[in-house]
């Protein structure tokens, strides 16, 4: 996908975005209860603690929970069709993303995927997913 313009990071999310600068996918994990969550928050949705969250490097692999091929984009200059998906990371959380590097009609729920990166103009990078190496 073409690099989109992305809303700026804030104090809660900056650690997640900073990791993307080195193409590292992270998930927020609670040191107290080990719960994982995405997107990043300032409290743990599993135990309620606010001072125990850290960003753990994720394996960068997961499985397609569901997807949809978009033929009419809300973005005027987007190249259609493209594939929007929910990917369930091996750590357990679900990310919204794009599926790339395969024909849109070839994707199936349950496909194994691996993270890839779209570099943004501001030095951050946006994670997308591609077929996992066999």
């Amino acid at each position: 996908m073409k690099a989109p313009s992305v809303a700026p990071a804030d104090v809660v999310t900056v650690g997640w975005w900073d990791a993307t600068r080195e193409h590292r996918l992270t998930v927020q994990r609670c040191a107290e209860c080990s719960g994982v969550q995405h997107p990043p928050r300032s409290l743990c949705i599993h135990c309620g603690r606010t001072d125990t969250l850290r960003f753990d490097t994720a394996a960068g692999t997961g499985v397609v929970d569901s997807f949809t091929v978009v033929y009419r984009s809300p973005v005027p200059d987007a190249d259609v069709p493209y594939v929007i998906a929910r990917v369930r990371l091996d750590e357990g959380v679900i990310c919204l993303t794009r599926l790339e590097n395969a024909e849109p009609d070839a994707w199936c729920i349950g496909d194994r995927v691996a993270v890839d990166w779209v570099d943004l103009d501001d030095g951050r990078a946006l994670p997308v997913f591609v077929p996992a190496p066999r």
Binding site: M1, P4, S5, V6, A7, P8, A9, D10, T13, W17, H38, P39, P40, R41, D65, S66, F67, T68, V69, V70, Y71, R72, S73, P74, V75, A78, Y82, I84, A85, R86, V93, I94, C95, L96, T97, R98, C108, I109, G110, L126, V128
Partner: protein
């Protein structure tokens, strides 16, 4: 059927719907408040009440201060307002809150209303409205999903995959909605003729597996509902329609919070509403559910307990949700073929009340005494159920 459905001292909330109306629908070239005025004045006339009787207002979709704006426009200073913003389910929530306010004595007569001129004003955006400070702006909007369509499309994809159903099966929901709309002169597709499964499949694909024919209309329109105590309702113009029960659930704003796309908050909201009414789903004579997309109906029917999980599409293939079928559903033609002004929830209530009063002409469900209205908002985000009944 329970013979003592709404014995006044046993069941019900003690609050009734006494007036309902639609604004002009379709393409109106009216401003939002012009459509609101039509719906409100017609609903008050339906009830035999006047604006001076109204001391409670619930609305949204006008401005940041929706109920305040409407009160100013109408020239009234209500004792109670609500502008809970929960998309298409807000109106079922308002009925619950209005019932509570009336029972508590904070208000005597509450107006619930909504209108939109989204078709005339071309105000609908394919990507929805995402505020820059929300997590979705950073973690979802960059990928350019259609909002809300792509979420429902992913739910549909997951549903078809998990339960071995097909797009043909799903299309029956749009086909049945059209059959009902052909019986409703106010329906946007009234004169459009029947829709076939082939038509649905051959319509332009927007966000797979959903085509334009799997999606609700984009029209102007609005509606209003007047509520007061059951005791006062007995002295008014029309047969009172009692509010028997209500329930709601709020589950997500993001596209990633809900673990299972095929399981919605309608399970809990409808269970609460039926329990409050002392009824089971098999006691309900007519069902009006928000059909934002065909998949929404399949998921909602299962959540209501009409059939088991994964069974809805098989269950309806015999035509049972079409006119004359065993399960009268979305009897005005629904958001798919009648009217969809954005937050359709108020019009579910209007149709349910008219069915219970026996006012629906060729689409009337004979002898309907109980109805269920279920609103859904956002991306299967908010769910609210209202159970209504008449004593006749």
């Amino acid at each position: 059927m329970n013979g003592h459905l709404i014995g006044r001292d046993q069941l019900g909330t003690g609050v009734a719907v006494v007036g309902v109306a639609e604004s002009d629908l379709g393409v109106t070239d009216q401003p939002i408040l012009g459509l609101q005025t039509q719906a409100i004045t017609r609903a008050l006339d339906d009830a035999g009440l006047a604006l001076r009787d109204v001391d409670g207002l619930a609305t949204t979709g006008i401005s940041r201060f929706s109920a305040t704006q409407l009160a100013d426009w109408l020239g009234i200073q209500p004792k109670w307002t609500d502008s809970t913003f929960a998309g298409g389910s807000a109106y079922e929530m308002y009925v619950a809150r209005a019932a509570q306010a009336i029972r508590a004595g904070q208000a005597e007569t509450v107006l619930v209303s909504f209108a939109s001129n989204q078709r005339s004003a071309r105000s609908r955006s394919l990507g929805g409205v995402v505020e820059a400070h929300t997590p979705e702006a950073q973690f979802e909007t960059p990928y350019a999903p259609l909002y809300p369509l792509s979420y429902y499309a992913m739910a549909a994809q997951r549903y078809l995959h998990e339960f071995g159903a097909t797009r043909e099966h799903l299309a029956e929901i749009a086909v049945a909605a059209r059959e009902w709309a052909l019986l409703n002169p106010k329906a946007f597709r009234y004169g459009a003729g029947p829709l076939t499964v082939e038509d649905v499949l051959a319509s332009p694909m927007i966000s797979s597996p959903l085509t334009t024919a799997d999606c609700c209309l984009v029209t102007d329109g609005g509606g209003a509902v007047v509520l007061t105590s059951s005791e006062r309702a007995r002295d008014l113009r029309k047969t009172p329609v009692e509010v028997l029960g209500y329930g709601e659930r709020t589950t997500n704003t993001s596209m990633t919070a809900v673990d299972d796309l095929t399981l919605t908050g309608a399970v809990g909201s409808s269970a609460d509403a039926l329990a409050r009414a002392g009824l089971s789903i098999s006691d309900i004579d007519v069902i009006e559910v928000y059909d934002s997309f065909t998949i929404t109906v399949a998921l909602t029917l299962e959540a209501l307990g009409v059939c088991g999980r994964g069974e809805a599409l098989d269950f309806i293939q015999d035509g049972r949700i079409r006119p004359g079928g065993q399960l009268p559903l979305n009897t005005n033609g629904g958001g798919l073929s009648y009217c969809h002004p954005g937050q359709y929830g108020v019009l579910l209530l209007v149709e349910a009340v008219r069915q219970l009063r026996g006012e629906c002409g060729p689409r009337q469900v004979a002898g309907a005494r109980t109805a269920l209205a279920h609103g859904t908002g956002g991306i299967l985000s908010t769910h609210a159920t209202v159970i209504l009944g008449v004593d006749r």
